[in-house]
């Protein structure tokens, strides 16, 4: 069994933005799916504990920026590997706002959807939001980026030179969590995102 074959199950990559209580935040996800077409409805699954789902529950609104093939790794670093509670993830980006006042960006974006939450359900590790698409706009005709492309073309590949560096721990490739010990147990599960040891990469000293 080659677990990497599952990377070929294609998903898009999206920037989900929201704003509540004066705080705006966004996160990277691959979990936006269209459920119905008239009226257009989507679902979104978010890891519990993160700031974005907490704000979406308050605002009842979110944007989905559909990222395209030009998306640089720095965009995934800004929105996917940092934490909104500590930082302003939008710093340095030209933030746009939809009619409901929800933030999004036009960088490396081929479309943006405005969504209004109809219901949500706590599924343990994740919250599933069901939302109506209240607006949808094409931003470019560049192809949407896929999760497979992120793994093979966007994410920096492990460098040979790192083998000469001292390993200082492991980092979760999904959410950025750092395990500060070189001995990562086989049954270890990421406390932030619930992903297993297979999704961790060695972390080397700078």
């Amino acid at each position: 069994m080659n677990e990497k074959a599952l990377y070929d199950l294609t998903y898009g990559l999206f920037l989900v933005g929201t704003k509540a209580d004066g705080k705006e935040n966004a996160c990277i996800t691959n979990t936006v799916i269209q459920l119905a077409s008239s009226p257009a409805r989507v679902s979104l699954s978010c890891i519990n504990g993160n700031l974005t789902p907490e704000l979406i529950k308050k605002s009842g609104r979110f944007t989905v920026t559909i990222l395209d093939e030009t998306a640089p790794f720095s965009l995934f670093e800004s929105f996917g590997l940092k934490h909104g509670r500590d930082t302003d993830k939008f710093a340095g980006y030209n933030v746009q706002y939809d009619e409901a006042g929800m933030p999004y960006i036009k960088n490396s974006a081929c479309a943006v959807l405005s969504c209004r939450v109809l219901s949500y359900e706590d599924l343990g590790s994740h919250t599933l939001f069901i939302a109506e698409v209240t607006d949808a706009e094409k931003l470019s005709f560049v192809r949407p980026v896929t999760y497979a492309q992120y793994h093979t073309e966007i994410k920096p590949q492990k460098k040979q030179e790192q083998k000469e560096k001292k390993q200082i721990g492991w980092r979760c490739e999904i959410c950025g969590y750092v395990y500060e010990d070189n001995d990562l147990p086989d049954d270890f599960v990421c406390p932030w995102c619930g992903h297993p040891k297979d999704d961790f990469e060695p972390l080397y000293e700078d």
Copy 2:
């Protein structure tokens, strides 16, 4: 609101194959999603009334061939626009079988998954299958094809010359259902797949 912006919500395109009671069949879908990683689990949503979900309920097994960017329109015609009850969809293809005896093809495929059904739920128009991935194999390193690419690059675009031909009805772009009248009501819903008028294209005489 530009409904076509929703086409950018990226999905892969998959050939789901199964076999029961000596009959093998397959269909095209964009609804395979990984749910969990250890053990690897996926979900698959199938339109009720079609042969594939009926056979999957009997066999408890299916394959997912992950199609790549080289997939020709003819493959989508063979498996997506024909009906397994009338035809042998695999005719003309070099059928492969996984360890459980379930059929798949290696044409334009970058990976294949073998799946064992754990449970299924009738959701009205669709049945949702939850399955364990019992095997996974990489078949090529060609990029997986996306639903967006199918719309923009694979599906034949409407030809100018067709404007000179006589229209004889409408065809559902999703499942191939033909409405044999030029006056398609605005609230029409495809009786085979449940998609609305927006997903129908004019059908012209040959």
